[in-house]
Every structure is written in structure tokens, then in C-alpha cells.
Amino acid sequence: MIANLSAANHKRTMPRSQSRLAITLRLLPRSQSRLAIPLMLALSCLAALASTAMAAEDEGRTRMAVAPSEPDPFANAPSVLHAPELERRAIAGILRPVPIVVDLPIDLARRARRVLLHYRLWGEPDWTTLELRLIGMRHSGAIPCLEISTITGKLRYYIRVHDDDGMVIATGASRASPYEVAIRHDKELSAHSARAARCPDPADCPRGLPGCPSEAVVAVACHSDSDCEGGMTCGFEGYCEATERRAHSISLGVEQAFGVVLRSGVCHISAQEQRGETCIREDGEQYLGTPVLTSVPPGFATGPTRLQLGYERLVLLDTSVGVRLGWAFRGGLEAARVPAIVPISGGIRVTHWFGTDPHGALGLRPYAMAIGGFAMHDLASSLIVRENPRAPQFQGGNALKQRVTAWRRAGDGFVGFGGGVAYGFSRAWSASIELCVLESFPINALVLAPSVGVALGL
């Protein structure tokens, strides 16, 4: 109704050429968490300030309409409803509501879930948010007249359009450069404007009832931190909140690798030369005999122990990416004629956090991750080798049956997945325990890598 009045007044008081403002689109800088996706947007916005219109014969630019926009190659980024400088300002009287009406083009209207009006009264330190109600094809609402009250000065406001995920898909003005409405006493307004209806009794028109001012929005939906303003961040539940969420963390942990390895024929000379195997006798010599090939089931092997230093960055509400550098300080193969293990390792990981804000909540936080990188995994298992007494001898001292330690140098690359649980015992510190299942290549082995560690959120 307010919108209709506004439209009617405008049509009556302003030439069509003056009452319609061309709305052009431009792109906001890309946010860190979302890339612009090319998409044609024909966005039009019609923001009507009814009371402003009444007082706008001279200013005369309070009714905004839309000219068809050109195709935009970066359409999925938030768009700005841009108006020339003069048209960002209007005049309204005290004790009168300031209606806001936004018309969205059909394609944008389909994606729009909420249209939020953010305003700040003269002298107020904080911004207040209202959700415009969808009436027909229009989103409309009003800054309550009782909030306008009798205080004169500039009322500032801007508009943000959110989609189902809370993502901002269009804006009108901004917090840094808002629309302005000058609130003035009646005597400063034109006679026509002064006749506009004054504020009703709030008891007669409580917020939220049809025809009454909109309800104040308590929670603003969001998709990422860039959808939130005023120092707030996008919370794990998808609403802007004032909590301090730590997006970076460093970690220190210890990992012990285990492996499942094939053990048939691993001590044969060819396997030791070509397949990354090394068999060490109990006297410390490398086994170079002639074993009888027997069927031995896959066995469990122990791998190196690594100290790991990590860094992770939260890229979405529930997803982080990170790097890990490791140093194997125990468990590597040491034998003459065999190169020592390269102790350094590195990898990248993508972690999905379940349930709670990964760096903002206390208590248990389960997670799953995918990882990949480079690392040598020297996997040692004990094995009985049976010597072939009828074969030519290449090495002395090999008993008919002897126990050897079979080492498999798996790696140097690996990919894998895993899961774990972190326990946040403060907003900054957490401890975690996790298990990764890795497949090494090109010398393959199935590596199980449990680890424990602590992380510090930054």
C-alpha cells in the first residue's frame, strides 16, 4: 500500500523522465570465499521513498526505476544498484515512516530469498536491519515512523539481497556509501509534503502485522564472512554473528605410521633391487642369499615416527585447507649400501568439519579429510626366510631358516583420506587425534598413520 501510494505520488509529481533513474550494474570486488560466476543478470531495482517523494518536487529524484541492463559476464557476484549522486539523497518529514520498495527483475527475483534493509538514524551508533516483505512481485517495508521520531538529521540506509544460502546477490548502496534521507521538520517541507500522514499509534499498528512496519531482523543469513558486516562473521549455523572466529591455525603433532605389506618373495635379490625391498639379517647384514619362494600372507609393518608442523586456513564455514611438513626422527631404515631415508615430508589436506564451528566452539569437533603429498615410509616387518641349499651361494652365513627384517620403502608420493576428532578446550587451543589411510606410490603400500597433536587458532 505504501508502495502504491509512493508510485502514485511520483507519477503525479514528477515527469517520467525525471522519476526514472537508470540503474546500472557493476561488480563488487570478488570475495575471498566466492568467485564470480559469469551469468547474465538483468537487475532492476525500484526503491520508492513515499514520504520522500512527497517532499521531492525540487529534489525530485526519489522514485527509482530501472533501465534494462546490459549482459554482465560476472553475474553471480553481488551486484550494486547504483544511482547517481544526486539521486541518493531525499527529504522526509519527522514522525513519518520511510517506505522502501524494491522491484527485482524476474531472474533475480527467483533467486532472492530475503531483501534486507539496513538503516541507521542520525546519532545512532548501530545499524538496524529490517527484512522487506514480499508483496506480489515487490519487496516492501518501511523504516518505522516512531524510530524516525522528531529527531532531524540524516537517515542512512542501504539494501542487500540474499539468496537461499544467505549469499548476497545484489546490493543497493553500501554501509560505506549509503543512501541518505534528510529528516526535517514540517515547516521546512513543502506544503504538499507536510500534509502526509504522521506516525500512527504503535499500539494500533504493531510491527509485523500486515500494513504495519516490518519486524526487525535479528539474524542475518549468510554464506561466508563477506556476507556479514560490522565486524561480524558468518557463523556455522549460517547467520552473521559477533563471535570471534579464528580462520587460521597452526598445529604440532606426532604421527606413527604402520603399513600392510606383501611379504612373498620380498627378500629375493630382484625384489630388493627393483621393488624397494631390503631384508636385513639378525647380524645386521643385508640378506643377499637365495631364498625359497613361499607363499607368505600380507603382514603388518611398522613405519617411521614423524613430527609434523601444520598450518590450516578456514576457507568455508566447515572446510579448511592446510599444509603439513614432517620430519621422520625414528623408524627409518639404516643399513650399509642402502641410502638413508629422506626424513622430510610434506602434504596438503582438505578438511571438512562436522557439527560445530571448527575454530569457534568448545568441545568435540569431528572431521574428515583428504590428503596428498610426498613422504618416504620405511615399513618394517619380521619374516622367516628359508634358504635354498641347492642353489649357488652368493652370501655366506645364511642359515637354512633365519629371521630377517623386511623393509619396504614405500613412496615417495601418497594420497589418502582420514578422519579424526578435535577437542577444543579453549577458543584458541585444541587437541586432536586422527587416523589417515594412505596409499603410497609408485612403490605402493597401504599405510595407516594415526597421529595426535595440538592446534592453536589465530
Binding site: 642369499g289 613361499t294 607363499s295 641349499p389 641347492r390 651361494q393 655366506g396 652365513g397
Partner: protein, 111 residues
């Protein structure tokens, strides 16, 4: 293709014999004692085979005890090189106990 389990005994696993270089064997000598020896080499003489052996200081009282002693890599040597007739050994009670491939030191004893 043979299919089997790892725990199955391997019937095709080659066993050492008296003439296998590196084979430990014990036999009952003429004085009824058990002698523990290791074959270094064997020379086929046509009618008999001459065994080049090392004799150990152990005095086992049974073949089982001799087998345990043979598994010890630090068993002291009594005679680094002795000769034995394969026919004589085979004609007496004997048993091949163990095998360990010859070390460089043992190979050097072979004439």
C-alpha cells in the same frame, strides 16, 4: 598352478644333503660318539665321494642335541679341515641337521 596356504608345509622345499656345501651333519663314529661336522665341499672319486669338512668341539649325546648345537653360529671349531668318506658316513648312523651357507673363511679352508 599350485594353491595352498602359507602354513602348509612346502613339499618342494629343497633339503640339504651330506654332500651339500654348508650342510651340518652328525654321525656315530667308530668309538660310538656323535661327531658334529659341516661339509665344506665334496669331491666325487667315482667309487666314493670325499667330503671336506670342519669338525666342531661339541660332544652331543643325541642327534637332537646336535641339531640344536648346529644352529648356533658361534659354535667353536675343533678341526678346520678334515676328510670323511661319504660311504663310511652313510654306512653308519647319521643325520643331516642344518644348513648354513659357507662363509668366506670356510671357503678359504677348501684345498
Amino acid at each position: 598352478m599350485a594353491i595352498g596356504c602359507a602354513s602348509d608345509p612346502d613339499p618342494a622345499a629343497p633339503e640339504p644333503e651330506l654332500t651339500t656345501a654348508g650342510a651340518y651333519f652328525a654321525w656315530v663314529t667308530e668309538d660310538a660318539s656323535i661327531s658334529l661336522m659341516k661339509t665344506l665341499s665334496a669331491l666325487d672319486l667315482g667309487t666314493d665321494t670325499l667330503l671336506f669338512c670342519s669338525t666342531y668341539q661339541a660332544q652331543p649325546r643325541s642327534f637332537a642335541e646336535a641339531g640344536e648345537l648346529a644352529r648356533r653360529p658361534d659354535l667353536p671349531v675343533a678341526l678346520e679341515l678334515t676328510f670323511a668318506s661319504l660311504a663310511i658316513v652313510e654306512s653308519s648312523e647319521h643325520q643331516v641337521l642344518w644348513y648354513r651357507s659357507l662363509t668366506d673363511e670356510e671357503i678359504a679352508r677348501i684345498p
